[in-house]
Symmetry: C2
Subunit: 402 residues, 2 copies
């Protein structure tokens, strides 16, 4: 067999998606849209004087992490110790692990990374017991750990729910002051369902930050105040940037899906944001879907049904099925928009059922591009994603490390 090509080799080959130089099904990134989204979100954060720590779990593509950092990101957010290690190994030097650090090997991983003094790391605490465990572990290694206090919502995910949990956690932090630095507060507002609840949770987070500042509990100045998934980042930016916690603060926003965007829940969220947020509106064209899955028409066994050669193995399906975007017949000049009447009706592991109109000109071997919903669960299906220019030339390869 041929020896494997490196990504750099591949980008020099001049491969073109429309010339069928790639094996389909395949997920691709569109360079112009990626770059647009990258700059858009950094500008958005800048407009609020906030820092950006894009959630890296979405792509797990260190090449994209480094582009985000080069574009101005303060750091990269991640969800696990394993993800943190991957980012570190590829050059990321500031990680906000928006999660509790649990389990012997996971602690060991972080402890090893912390031996590099150039590496800055934060994780979350939401209970006295967790603080105790972290304290004992890092004391035995003579290391300090930076943490953020996580504020949670009733019926939500992690995070302190009430005053009692808050007091127990902060009391434990006082006990372990020699080992653990409380650097700020954190919240994930995406777990609650509507704007009033989101605002309420964010206001409560600010109140807690203010209370802790008043009690002089923070070991870092400015204090970090962090929130924002990809759906409510405008509200977080607004509330957190305007908030007074009684001392200097650093607002850190953590959206992840903006980089590729989608045509599902994040597109819906973006419509609300553009409508409601004057800062977003003033920034010109909004986020654009930069991630597509391309596949062949494999069979047209019924007049109104074609079977497409991709499935649950290739694209997310938990927030809406992929949406037909473009139709291309190899040999023709260029892709045309797919009729809006075309709909995926079923997704199996390796096949999709596309409902078409009777008489629609769909043939075996035609290529169809699908926009996707929920980039996270699309990225984790792929180890290499070609990056295309506007002529569908492969200009780069992005490798993922899940």
């Amino acid at each position: 067999m041929d020896a494997p090509l490196t990504p750099t080799d591949i980008s020099k080959l001049g491969w073109n998606l429309l010339r069928e130089d790639l094996s389909l099904p395949i997920a691709v990134l569109h360079e112009d849209k990626l770059e647009h989204n990258l700059r858009w979100m950094q500008s958005f954060a800048n407009a609020y004087g906030a820092k950006l720590a894009p959630h890296g779990k979405t792509t797990m593509a260190p090449k994209l992490f480094l582009r985000q950092v080069q574009a101005g990101a303060w750091g990269i957010t991640l969800a696990t110790a394993h993800q943190t290690r991957v980012a570190y190994e590829h050059g990321v030097r500031r990680v906000l692990m928006a999660n509790q650090l649990i389990g012997r090997q996971n602690l060991e991983i972080v402890s090893r990374l912390l031996k590099d003094e150039a590496f800055e790391y934060f994780c979350l605490v939401d209970s006295a017991e967790l603080v105790e465990r972290l304290g004992h572990f890092f004391k035995a290694r003579g290391q300090r750990l930076n943490v953020l206090l996580e504020v949670g919502a009733e019926d939500g995910r992690t995070g302190v729910r009430d005053h009692q949990q808050l007091c127990a956690t902060t009391a434990s932090l006082v006990n372990w002051k020699s080992q653990i630095s409380l650097c700020g507060v954190e919240v994930f507002e995406g777990v609650v369902g509507d704007e009033p609840s989101v605002r309420q949770l964010l206001e409560r987070t600010i109140e807690i930050a203010h209370e802790l500042a008043r009690e002089n509990r923070f070991d870092r100045h400015p204090v970090i105040v962090s929130g924002a998934g990809s759906a409510w980042y405008d509200i977080v930016a607004e509330i957190f940037s305007e908030a007074d916690i009684g001392e200097e603060k650093e607002v850190v926003l953590r959206p992840g899906c903006y980089l590729t965007h989608d045509v599902g829940p994040y597109s819906t969220a973006q419509q609300r944001i553009v409508k409601c947020c004057s800062v977003a509106r003033k920034m010109g064209p909004a986020l654009e879907p930069a991630l597509q899955v391309w596949a062949y028409v494999q069979s047209v066994p019924e007049k109104q049904k074609s079977i497409i050669g991709f499935g649950k193995r290739d694209a997310a399906f938990d927030s809406g099925l992929p949406v037909p975007a473009l139709h291309f017949r190899p040999g023709s000049a260029k892709p045309v928009p797919a009729p809006t009447s075309w709909t995926l009706t079923r997704l199996m592991d390796q096949h999709a059922f596309l409902q078409i109109g009777e008489g629609d000109d769909v043939r075996l071997g035609d290529m169809i591009a699908f926009d996707i919903s929920h980039p996270c669960l699309t990225f984790d299906k792929w180890r290499y994603l070609p990056v295309l220019d506007s002529e569908y030339q492969v200009v780069d390869i992005v490798q993922t490390f899940f």
Copy 2:
């Protein structure tokens, strides 16, 4: 950072899951159950005088493909040209690609593999146009291609639906006899929903095989008659092995999920099979779930809710959420069965919400093992899966190649 360890190195390290030598969340395979399932299905096929071509798309783990072949499998079934190449590169020399071969690069991949005369490959045709395309392509390369005629169901997936499609396809096969060998018939019965429809589709497949044999259309003797996903393989084995198609036949069964089994749809299917199929019943203990995802209790923020450190990024969720199986507190003697009252109520990308009883002894850092539904969509989340013995020692590492 440490240099990466090879799988062989790792298996020699004596790592133990219960000693927290592994970073959780993690998907693991249980060696005893894997071996049991491997032998069970091969014996089942043997009992019917049928060949086994396990569907490799489930695991995409060549180490497991080779174990299946060593245990007696006739070949490996795959779904795409890319998967076929992976199997070939790891030593598999007979592939039934249970799919249509479409697209320039995919044809090129297969054409390259066919240069090795020791490699035997079959793919499916279900239209005259596809036969034409394949004929032209392989004629230009001076190569022959083995195909099976796919029989489909109305409202189903791929496959010829009616007499007209059948005749058009076989007429085209006659035209391209110099390039394309019709080696048998194929059906995927898993696309229809109930046993009467499954039986009807299988009987129709046999009728078509019989008709084609009578017309002397097959280029391979014995004729391949292939069916069976992981839900109806007993019915396929029964009907196909007893069928008379007027000449010698080779029945090829293609289940894939049996190797790890699950506690979802395939467990339900297996209950029916053991109940209805005397051959399966006589074979002793049925298939056992061999694939689990282990994760830590990360927070217990409410009395009846604990947050577990795994999510949609780690386990399939499309055929039922993962099911708590074992509960283990590091330092204790061994895992105990998880209370049947424990239920996952929500799965996010990296978190699961576990409903527990008020007063249940669940603590931060406890390990919980989850059985899963739908192995295919769990395997594709992982690049390395440790294989454990009954004492939870890591005895091997299985690498996937999606």
